[in-house]
């Protein structure tokens, strides 16, 4: 109980410390990539709950990210001013659901307000996750992997085929997302620090909710399903419903991240929906340790940050693949479980033997 809050407090402190450190060393630009990494981390901790605690794999989670991002992007960029006269549109405009703004070239356009778009994106995600989850979660093992992969492929190819979604170009010129007066989710450098804190606030809150959840009655039920599904059933745990709810919850995490990252980047492209992205999410969960939210959080922050900074140049994928293999070979429970001392010890011993 207290440990929970200690961890969360430590996370909050670490977030603040990183910001202060970047400010002190004049590296505040790092916050841009750290912010983006924060949103991807939100997706990944949601997926960690699904994989590590409900024991269900999803190779289609980029699809949910894309549903969130694209819904918000479309609704906040499609200009409705041509229909201003229509009663329905003017009613929506009066109620504040629609909002007018100037576009990049000085024209005045009328679009859905980002908050309304956000709610819309959440609703769509929940409905889609429900409709997909009911049949998909009946499958097991490789068949489940295949079905979720199929879902991801469908979202990807729909996004890529539909001109409303910008086809291969994606959607750009997505406006800022107003949070509070003077605070908005946007890529502008003046809001860099605020956006960093907002992204990681979302992660912290998301983490707190998940940690509460896994220590609650539901979390116990999820772990019992993982341990012995039939016995869990005999104890009254409705495995199908719990899996479905977890699936929806993790989809919502992905969609929320999708919405905010899209506003932060000012756009979204089909690569966010691609299968490789989904595979990356799953791989980071595995590297972080399947049942370890903290390990996953750390690995996600580190790997995404490094990748977004382009540290590995054209070897980005190769480095990622090597890390995957190395962690799975030497520390299959995730990096946090890596027993460094024994590894180093073994290394030194073999060294001595070789020297002798």
């Amino acid at each position: 109980m207290f440990q929970r809050f200690r961890h969360i407090t430590a996370l909050a402190a670490a977030i603040a410390a990183v910001q202060l450190l970047t400010a002190a060393t004049g590296k505040e630009f790092f916050l841009t990539q750290l912010t983006m990494a924060g949103y991807y981390t939100l997706v990944i901790i949601g997926l960690c709950l699904l994989m590590g605690y409900a024991g269900q794999i999803s190779l289609g989670h980029a699809g949910f990210f894309a549903i969130g991002g694209y819904t918000s992007a479309v609704l906040t960029t499609v200009d409705l001013s041509a229909w201003k006269a229509a009663p329905a549109i003017s009613l929506l405009a009066k109620s504040g659901i629609l909002t007018g703004r100037a576009d990049l070239y000085g024209g005045q356009i009328l679009t859905v307000h980002p908050w309304a778009a956000f709610l819309c994106a959440l609703c769509i995600t929940i409905v889609v996750a429900f409709l997909i989850g009911v049949p998909v979660l009946k499958l097991k093992g490789h068949y489940l992997a295949m079905a979720t992969l199929g879902f991801g492929t469908i979202i990807y190819s729909v996004v890529l085929a539909t001109s409303r979604f910008g086809a291969a170009d994606g959607i750009s010129s997505v406006p800022a997302f107003p949070l509070l007066p003077g605070l908005a989710v946007t890529g502008g450098s003046s809001q860099r620090v605020a956006n960093y804190y907002f992204a990681w606030l979302l992660v912290t809150v998301g983490m707190l909710l998940l940690i509460n959840l896994i220590h609650s009655r539901v979390g116990r039920a999820l772990r019992s399903i993982h341990g012995a599904e039939d016995a869990a059933g005999a104890m009254g745990v409705d495995a199908a419903r719990y899996k479905l709810n977890t699936f929806i919850l993790s989809a919502v995490y992905a969609a929320v991240a999708g919405v905010f990252l899209t506003h932060y980047n000012g756009g979204i492209g089909p690569s966010e929906a691609s299968i490789m992205k989904s595979v990356r999410y799953v791989a980071i969960v595995a590297v972080g340790g399947m049942g370890s939210l903290w390990g996953t959080l750390i690995m996600s922050a580190v790997l995404n940050f490094l990748s977004l900074r382009g540290y590995f140049g054209t070897f980005d994928d190769a480095v990622f693949g090597s890390i995957l293999i190395a962690v799975m070979l030497f520390s299959p429970e995730g990096v946090l479980k890596l027993d460094i001392r024994s590894l180093v010890g073994r290394w030194i011993r073999t060294d001595r033997k070789a020297g002798a």
């Binding site: 024991g55 794999i57 049949p135 998909v136 009946k138 499958l139 097991k140 093992g141 490789h142 068949y143 992997a145 295949m146 079905a147 992969l149 199929g150 879902f151 492929t153 469908i154 190819s157 729909v158 890529l160 085929a161 299968i275 490789m276 595979v279 799953v282 791989a283 595995a286 590297v287 399947m290 054209t314 070897f315 994928d317 190769a318 990622f320 693949g321 090597s322 890390i323 995957l324 293999i325 799975m328 070979l329 299959p332």
Partner: protein, 296 residues
């Protein structure tokens, strides 16, 4: 005209289907002995094609293909020995993640070795424009080559797994590794062997489809997804079923192009596939009891 079109689309579907099927078979071989899906299977196809093209620069075609198959088999065996062999009771997920990592490494290695350019082997018979015409329906001879090779491979595999000692031992490994080990079967070698065999089949597939699909360093991932799809749809572990499922997927795609915009081809075919999977959760030709035994 309608009938002619129908058959032309059917031929197109068979072409797609053959490509998917030959990749799908490779998945099944490793699955059959280890119970894992090797996501680097698509990379074996790419490696086979690329190596054959490189060897063809100074070797006649049949030798180049044989050489490419051998090289890829060696790579397959090496991968198993480096990354899989010494793991003690690895979980299925762990193995899957490792194979994903390996597939990324092979792909990146190929990029830095061969560059991003495209290559292809020459058509085994005829050239880029030749086709065999049957009643107004035209089909490239290379498609027949691919079909023939797929048929022979499936046949040989069936013979191998059911009528040879080695094949039976590999199957014993698949159904119960501990029991197989108790019976004195060197299970570790069997796993290596399955990687070697499936790498070889992947490479052969890569050579025979190379004139049709062309070969580039990144081709593996897309093929692997399709191959995985048909292996699952057919029912894991059954090579014949994978071929059947490959044709179903190919024909679905082809006919979806006939009636719908091509851009939605994948969305349509995968939707139908998922519907089939929901109706028969253990694959079209699979056995539900057997499927239940093989879970994560």
């Amino acid at each position: 005209m309608f009938l002619e079109l129908f058959f032309q689309y059917l031929v197109a579907g068979l072409t797609y289907g053959t490509i998917y099927a030959v990749v799908g078979i490779g998945f099944n071989i490793i699955y059959n002995t280890t119970g894992i899906i090797n996501f680097a299977q698509g990379e074996f196809v790419m490696l086979g094609g690329m190596t054959a093209v490189s060897l063809h620069a100074f070797l006649p075609l049949p030798l180049a293909i044989a050489g490419a198959v051998l090289v890829t088999m060696a790579v397959g065996g090496l991968i198993e020995m480096l990354f899989i062999r010494w793991l003690v009771k690895p979980s299925v997920l762990r193995m899957i993640i490792i194979t994903i990592g390996v597939s990324i490494l092979i792909r990146e290695g190929a990029l830095h070795l061969w560059g991003e350019g495209i290559r292809s082997l020459p058509y085994f018979t005829g050239n880029e424009v030749s086709a065999i015409e049957i009643g107004g329906v035209r089909v490239s001879p290379q498609v027949l080559w691919a079909l023939g090779v797929a048929a022979i491979v499936v046949l040989l595999l069936n013979v191998f797994f059911h009528y040879t000692m080695l094949g039976r031992e590999m199957r014993a490994c698949a159904s119960n590794r501990d029991a197989a080990a108790l019976c004195g079967i060197p299970t570790r070698n069997m796993v290596t062997l399955s990687f070697v065999v499936s790498a070889g089949i992947g490479a052969l597939a890569g050579c025979v489809v190379s004139p049709i699909t062309q070969t580039q360093y990144g081709i593996g991932a897309g093929l692997a997804i399709k191959g995985f799809t048909v292996a699952i749809l057919g029912g894991l572990g059954n090579s014949m079923a994978a071929v059947g499922a490959g044709f179903i997927l190919g024909i679905l795609e082809s006919f979806s192009i006939w009636v719908m915009p091509t851009a939605y081809k994948d969305a349509i075919s995968i939707t139908i596939l998922l519907a089939m999977l929901f109706a028969r959760p253990s694959g079209l030709f699979g056995n539900s009891e057997a499927a239940r035994l093989k879970e994560f």
